[in-house]
């Protein structure tokens, strides 16, 4: 049985300057309740790792709008003009990463790999400052793993053991982020007795705490 905590318990796991991976793609599959609580607690100088910057009033966009984000690592911020403004004014550091590289960096962080070679970004500014390694006379960029202190996931179905599934396109970065942080907290849309063992997307061993949406 996995421990179910109250949203107010979230504060015990937060600290200024921490790094947080947040599941979701344009805020689809993002745990909004957990984000709201971090806004309320006003934790400062956060590094956010997320596919994108959310929208102005959705997803990690709420943390950005509230001035809590010191650094954003994402593949896209185009739907959040406030993120663009803070970035161009130098008020938020923003590292833009190709989406596939971002997913793979997080995977490497969770899978104990020291890095991987990708052709994506060769000959572009993405390769700047990175090691180029040739394999069979073909060049690749060496990209390094990413990890964070905390992952906030949005599980659409969570069983009492903590096994977690993400329906339809809410899945996106959620399962891979579950593997790459010291602590994993899942916002559960729906709790069930048991997920079919063949179809578990995130095994319970990755999940530390569950916050139920109904409460």
């Amino acid at each position: 049985m996995k421990e179910i905590i109250k949203i107010s318990d979230l504060k015990n796991h937060l600290f200024d300057g921490m790094s947080i991976m947040v599941g979701g793609f344009m805020a689809i599959g993002t745990p909004e309740l957990l984000i709201d609580e971090i806004v309320r607690l006003n934790v400062k100088d956060i590094t956010i790792i997320c596919n994108d910057a959310g929208l102005a009033d959705l997803g990690v966009g709420k943390l950005i709008a509230n001035g809590q984000v010191k650094k954003l690592i994402a593949s896209h911020i185009g739907l959040n003009p406030e993120a663009g403004r803070l970035m161009s004014e130098g008020l938020m550091e923003c590292v833009l990463v190709p989406q596939g590289t971002l997913a793979e960096q997080i995977r490497a962080g969770g899978a104990g790999l020291g890095g991987f070679l990708t052709p994506t970004g060769l000959g572009t500014i993405v390769e700047k400052g990175k090691k180029i390694i040739a394999v069979n006379k073909k060049d690749f960029i060496l990209e390094l793993p990413l990890r964070a202190d905390l992952a906030l996931l949005y599980g659409t179905t969570v069983d009492k053991y903590g096994n977690t599934n993400f329906t339809k396109t809410t899945r996106n970065f959620n399962p891979v982020m579950a593997t790459a942080t010291d602590l994993v907290i899942v916002q559960a849309r729906k709790m069930v007795d048991r997920i079919d063992p063949d179809n578990v997307m995130t095994p319970h061993i990755f999940v530390d705490y569950i916050v139920k949406e109904e409460e």
Partner: protein
């Protein structure tokens, strides 16, 4: 042709490059229109990089499901046989060469197949999203674009805006013609007879290899 007719004309020509069973990723904007012009006997599989294959049309009020979106975050539907997956598998599919064709727009594209599509210096930088992986990984990269931007050439000898990918574009399709990037240069394979070859050459800042181009025959 008005602006919409031009877009449809280009999309219709791009559609002819797709084959039955192809896995295809269409960028936002003009490329999205390509799906409207497929012959009824050709069934392609559309991928959306946020995590699905079998992208269907926008939902009706009845079929709307907030959990099903495309890479732009817009609501979509899933066709029969389609399925969902996570971002790591999505980009294994993309980077691993499993996407047969990707169709994207551009700011600039050049005769060596390099593409600039994500940064206009001095403007807000939206980020590359999945575009760099798509252009690098897809078997065939088609740029679907108006030939010029308000009269200014978009097809160049060498892109001067920051690149999305180097030497990855295979084909450029505009309202003026169809061009293919080959080792020996940018070949004009087809031209739209509404324009003279001279007009096409003058609208292009790249060196075009012109060797008996065919006529682009499409109803508008």
């Amino acid at each position: 042709m008005d602006k919409m007719q031009i877009k449809n004309f280009i999309a219709k020509r791009v559609a002819r490059e797709l084959h039955d069973g192809d896995l295809v990723n269409l960028g936002i904007g003009l490329p999205t229109l390509v799906g409207n012009f497929l012959p009824s006997d050709i069934h392609i599989n559309l991928q959306s990089e946020n995590g699905l294959i079998g992208l269907g049309p926008a939902p009706t009020e009845e079929t709307y499901d907030a959990d099903i979106t495309n890479a732009g975050g817009q609501p979509v539907t899933l066709l029969d046989g389609g399925m969902y997956f996570d971002s790591t598998l999505s980009f294994s599919i993309i980077r691993g060469g499993h996407v047969d064709v990707t169709v994207l727009g551009c700011l600039q594209v050049d005769q060596t197949g390099s593409l600039a599509s994500w940064i206009i210096p001095g403007k807000m930088v939206p980020g590359m999203g999945g575009a760099m992986d798509l252009v690098t990984g897809a078997k065939k990269v088609i740029i679907a674009t108006t030939h010029t931007n308000r009269g200014k050439p978009k097809i160049l000898k060498q892109c001067f805006l920051p690149l999305t990918a180097k030497n990855q574009v295979n084909m450029i399709i505009t309202e003026m013609g169809v061009m293919e990037v080959r080792d020996d240069g940018l070949h004009l394979l087809e031209y739209n007879p509404e324009y003279t070859i001279m007009e096409i050459v003058e609208s292009t800042d790249a060196t075009l290899v012109i060797n008996n181009p065919k006529v682009m025959k499409l109803e508008v």
